[in-house]
Symmetry: C2
Amino acid sequence: MKLSDRQEEIIRLVKEQQPITSEALAEKLGVTRAAIRADLSILTMIGILDARPKVGYIYSGKSSNSFVYEYISKIKVYEIMSKPITVKEETMVYDAIIFLFLNDVGTLFVENEGVLTGAVSRKDFLKIAIGGTDIHKVPVGVIMTRMPNIICANKNDNAYNLAKKIIEHEIDSIPIVESLEKLDDKEQFKIIGKVSKTNITKLFVKLGGQEG
Amino acid sequence: MKLSDRQEEIIRLVKEQQPITSEALAEKLGVTRAAIRADLSILTMIGILDARPKVGYIYSGKSSNSFVYEYISKIKVYEIMSKPITVKEETMVYDAIIFLFLNDVGTLFVENEGVLTGAVSRKDFLKIAIGGTDIHKVPVGVIMTRMPNIICANKNDNAYNLAKKIIEHEIDSIPIVESLEKLDDKEQFKIIGKVSKTNITKLFVKLGGQEG
């Protein structure tokens, strides 16, 4: 969607002289009020201008991209999440790395009797692999990041908020969880999915390719 | 941006009876032509309807999300690329891994006298690290993916096309290059940036957070 020259001119005038009535705008543009009625409807509808009754038009401060923001803010985590790959705390690091390659993922999640207890990333594995440790003898439970130190999300969260967490906390993948009954007053979660930078990149490709 | 009930009704009528004139639409809706003029302008402008002179309105087949597509398709690689981290072919794998951690990146690019010759990812490093090789004695040049087997992009390419390449080829990071003079009839490139899934995720967060 591209704005017309007249619409751009209207935005410029409103920014300068707000609040401004449609009569005043029409006069400045040298046209009738009827001539700009459609332009004003469009600009109000897409949220660039606000129409204040008995006051006139004001600039909303939103850019013409705010419709992209609105569209993106409606996408939910469950629409983009994928299947999590899990191992047990007792799995040896070497075996877990092989499992990581076979599943072609960047992060493994760790479960104990259906409860999410940890996460191990390719970075964690690389760190231990160059450290001189015998990775055949160390179980995943020793090197993983342990709950509650893992950023989790809910399937009904916004995909946007999740992407923001990925960037802010510099993580690759977020487990999507559901609450289980508490144990010893500690919250427990079941893992039902995951969203990584790959899922976000796929979503971006889907949005950009969406013509139908 | 949300369409009004009348706009949705107009789209429905056009889909059913296209091509249809504004007179016919107004009659079916029981209103005057003037009353729906702004609605028709908006629907034509955002690309949902096409206005054919002397024929009437037809449904373009585009969804109301096509403006997201249009917006995304205009973002260029140079707007989102970041600084590439490079090593030399002679750098030992162990030292390169340390360099990878210190720079907190997922992929190192390999240069030889200002020419891009290869790339090594965290995955490549992990593979060699668990293989029993002495990573202090093997240089990066031995394990890297070598040009021309690397997917590259230009700074003026669309960010969308680049994200598509990342997904299709299952890669983490794409070097952004400029052509140099050919050597022995072989194309040579200088690396000037890189775009990874992190850059795409950041872009998504920027798009979703863009209200100003």
